[in-house]
């Protein structure tokens, strides 16, 4: 069963149509790569899924539950708490990490989970136990990211690659159904992209459901179960990575890919 279904999403900023009638679906445990040139709407699509932007029209469903249904007008009155709950279906890793600078690597991973735990009955009964459990969980995630000796470091003491791995651990901490990456290696020095791509690949091997917007074509081809090529706000072509990369049907896809292959 599809964990994510997106139907007919459109979005405009002023007179520019950024997304035009986007529909897609993603199976649980699968990885979807979104490729396309700058300005094709990839990032806006991810931001819509994470409710950082509100689509003008369309439906988003996670596990069959409709998160967003706006036939035409924007419904700004959606209750904040409802929105927050729905957001938690998704995790988002940003291009520029956006770690909280005044928290250590461990603190960054713990913060949101602890704030969420404060609303629970369990927290009222035994704070120390809940805190301990959350910290253990966060430590485990950082170890998984290969950062066992970096837990007490602040973001400015870490390399870009380490920062991005902390950001991935932070996004995983809340156990999202779908983890989204917005060009996770674009802000990194070339020699640091490898370590980040490696942990994403590990996550794919563990059947984490992911959507990855990327310019790393080889990575998209190897890791993804499904590829979408976007152009001017539309899904131009989608399908099996081997098909899309080796045997593109659309002229625009072919032109885009050839530009990358030359590099």
């Amino acid at each position: 069963m599809a964990v994510l279904e997106v139907e007919h999403i459109s979005k405009r900023f002023g007179r520019t149509e950024v997304l035009r009638d986007i529909s897609l679906s993603l199976e649980k445990g699968k990885t979807l790569s979104i490729i396309g040139s700058s300005g094709s709407g990839k990032t806006t699509l991810l931001r819509c899924l994470n409710f950082l932007e509100t689509p003008d029209t369309g439906v988003i469903r996670v596990n069959g539950e409709t998160l967003l249904e706006m036939p035409d007008a924007k419904n700004k009155r959606q209750r904040e708490s409802e929105l927050r709950r729905k957001r938690l279906h998704f995790g988002l890793v940003f291009q520029s990490f956006n770690l909280f600078p005044q928290y250590t690597a461990l603190g960054n991973v713990i913060l949101a989970e602890e704030l969420l735990a404060k609303d629970t009955e369990e927290w009222k009964q035994d704070k120390a136990a809940v805190r301990k459990r959350i910290e253990e969980h966060a430590r485990g995630l950082l170890v998984q990211m290969g950062l066992e000796d970096r837990m007490k470091n602040y973001p400015h003491q870490l390399s870009g690659g380490q920062c991005q791995r902390v950001a991935i651990a932070r996004a995983l901490a809340l156990g999202p159904d779908i983890l989204c990456f917005d060009e996770p290696t674009s802000a990194l020095d070339p020699e640091l992209t490898g370590e980040v791509l490696r942990v994403i690949r590990d996550l794919a091997d563990q059947n984490t459901t992911m959507i990855i917007v990327t310019h790393e074509m080889a990575f998209a081809r190897d890791v993804a179960d499904q590829v979408i090529f976007m152009d001017e706000g539309c899904i131009c072509e989608q399908g099996d990575p081997k098909e899309v990369f080796c045997n593109p049907k659309e002229e625009r896809t072919r032109r885009f890919l050839s530009r990358f292959m030359e590099e």
């Binding site: 950082l52 904040e80 927050r84 995790g91 956006n98 600078p101 005044q102 913060l111 932070r170």
Partner: protein, 228 residues
């Protein structure tokens, strides 16, 4: 009277005046920082009416002399409603001066805070939202400390200015240190025509601002554990 005889009398009087100066300083600080934060949040609010109103208030308060504001706040209620809401004597003057100083400094602080909050990259808020945090949580747990760090130098400037600005309250005869020093120019406690007590008040201001400067550099060091 010799200088040696004058000195203890003058110091006692200046100390009393300086105590009033410090009182006004601390009351202003305690009132203006939270009020300034509220005003800064208001000027960034989505409510257009609130935003417009506060912008006008900030313009008026920053655009006119504090001395005039002191006079208006102190005398206006009595002139218009024939009712001195501040109460009589030194405590009444102190209350009026506190209100004028708090409003004036809150407006200056609010602009500094607004600059500090707006200098925080949008990605910080977005990261918090994606992690299911409320806007209040994001403000207090993520943005506030970053804002404090970035506004520390301009705020320390304002606070040092505040120490000296308290002397403006003399215009409504608040008995702060300049008022105390000036009294000896005419005649007070058997000393008359002495201007040196007024010069001497400078040492009090210097000492207070020396301590504040040290305090702020310590605070800056404390917040150097992270980089925004």
């Amino acid at each position: 009277m010799t200088f040696a005889e004058q000195l203890p009398i003058v110091l006692r009087s200046l100390n009393t005046g300086f105590l009033q100066t410090l009182r006004l300083f601390f009351v202003t600080l305690l009132g203006a920082i939270p009020l300034g934060l509220l005003i800064s949040l208001g000027t960034m609010s989505r409510l257009k009416a609130l935003k417009g109103f506060l912008k006008i208030v900030v313009w008026i308060v920053r655009g006119s002399p504090l001395m005039i504001q002191l006079l208006i706040i102190f005398y206006f209620p009595g002139l218009v409603w024939k009712n001195n809401i501040w109460g009589s004597g030194e405590s009444g003057r102190f209350l009026a001066a506190s209100v004028a100083f708090i409003i004036n400094y809150a407006c200056y602080f609010s602009e500094i805070f607004r600059g500090g909050i707006q200098s925080i990259p949008a990605g910080q808020e977005e990261a918090g939202l994606v992690l299911g945090m409320t806007r209040t949580q994001i403000f207090f747990r993520v943005k506030l400390l970053q804002m404090v760090k970035s506004v520390l130098p301009p705020i320390s400037n304002e606070i040092i200015t505040l120490v000296k600005d308290t002397s403006l309250a003399r215009i409504i005869a608040l008995q702060e240190i300049i008022w105390a020093g000036q009294a000896f120019m005419k005649s007070s406690e058997g000393i008359s025509g002495a201007i040196w007590p007024l010069f001497f008040t400078g040492i009090y201001y210097l000492a207070a601002n020396g301590i504040l400067t040290l305090l702020f550099s310590r605070l800056e060091k404390k917040l150097s554990f992270f980089r925004a």
